[in-house]
Symmetry: none
Subunit: 241 residues, 2 copies
């Protein structure tokens, strides 16, 4: 199955792709298998955590192979993955605040913002990465990102959570840290890895090393973000009421 | 599995095939896993939603590879897929109106119309696409399509739904919009992508660009149509009674 080319033991990028792929798949199996013993009100949430990690596992499998074969940073696949998993994380926020009145309108706001964030990010990172105009796309993407941060920290999500049980409120706060700190690695990678990434300035000269570092950071961060996010939902589902 | 050829980051057709494949598979897993916690009366309907998206996932996998390898529009596979999934959507209309008296005869009417629609469409699109006679096949296909629209909006399906619970009636109305607006993208693609598609007129000169646009529209539309359709059924299954 694995086109066995030797893999250098100091190929940290490949190493993190291998660990990441298996971590995501194992997390998916865990969440899927735990749904049957999850309280009915949280069952769909845990299932969605399983979907997020399962989708990531498949894409990590592709990225691992792509990176081994071409040595390239698999940006194309990362965005395919994010376009599915980030909206699903929005669904998670909606599902856990549904009981205290979250309306479908909130879900659409979150999904719309995340799609804008990702599409503009893709254009900047994958279509125009060598042009200084990429910073404009990244800036618009950043606006959308901070709108999501706002909704979760101060806006609708936060307000609904404060009216919910302590367990839900605590989960939303924790997830808020994921969105603010955990997700910050992606725009950071964009800034470092894209020419003109920060308001037109080129911050890094060794592009190849930058891309390798970006992949390692993404792989580790992704695992923490997706699996960690799912585990917060899982812990909520196992808390008393 | 993935014959790793580099994929251009601006290959939007490939991008949508990748997103589509994973979206369908994730949706299928979601519906299959939710059946066990679905009320008995709706369990089969949610299962069929899982089947529709699962079938689509497999065919998207084929189309994704075919398109990457040949650069071609995978018309053959689209029709293989539609020939299975569209009749299954007819089954969904039957299942949710069964409780208020839908007879098997209605199911046969819907299935027969959809098969006529697809077979004539295939002949026009895949067998005679370069001849102006393709518009005749498309026209007959359109008649069958509008018969389905009629049954869902004003005919048997609509009448039965109006005698059912508000939840069922609302679901049928929403599904009616899917059939009228969501499914309209397919004949639209036929008209734009087939020579002589609209009553013998050639509407588009750059055929390659038209086909690429068609694939992107189909990929996005398919995901909305199949996953959205399934989510309407799912929402119905989770409504009170
Ligand atoms: C703000 C910003 C970005 C944000 C990306 C984010 C926030 C991605 C999140 C991914 C997740 C959460 C993946 C799986 O867990 C981009 C698109 C890099 C482009 C530059 C600006
Ligand atoms: C009217 C018409 C057509 C309609 C096709 C339809 C309505 C396809 C629906 C497909 C679905 C619903 C797929 C999965 O969701 C054709 C055959 C393109 C040929 C031209 C005329």
């Amino acid at each position: 199955f694995l086109d066995i080319k030797p893999i250098a033991t100091d190929n940290y990028v490949a190493f993190t792709f291998f660990v990441g792929t298996m971590a995501m798949m194992a997390a998916a199996v865990f969440f899927f298998m735990e749904t049957s013993s999850t309280a009915p009100q949280w069952r769909t949430s845990v299932l969605v955590s399983g979907l997020i990690t399962f989708i990531a596992a498949v894409h990590y499998y592709y990225m691992r192979g792509y990176n081994l074969d071409t040595g390239d940073s698999p940006t194309f696949f990362r965005y395919v993955d994010w376009l599915l998993t980030v909206p699903l994380m929005c669904v998670e926020f909606y599902l856990i605040t549904k009981k205290v009145g979250a309306k479908v309108g909130l879900l659409w706001k979150l999904i719309f913002a995340s799609v804008v964030m990702l599409v503009t990010g893709y254009i900047g990172e994958a279509i125009h990465p060598e042009e200084t105009v990429s910073w404009v796309w990244g800036f618009v993407s950043g606006l959308a990102y901070f709108y999501i941060v706002y909704l979760v920290w101060f806006g609708d999500v936060a307000k609904l959570a404060s009216a919910a049980s302590p367990a839900v409120n605590s989960a939303v706060k924790t997830l808020g840290w994921f969105v603010l700190v955990g997700w910050a690695i992606y725009p950071l990678g964009y800034i470092l890895g894209t020419k003109g990434g920060l308001f037109g300035m080129e911050l890094v000269t060794d592009r190849a090393a930058a891309k390798a570092a970006m992949d390692i950071v993404y792989n580790i961060g992704d695992a923490i973000n997706k699996i960690g996010f799912g585990l917060v939902i899982y812990a909520l589902s196992r808390s008393e009421k």
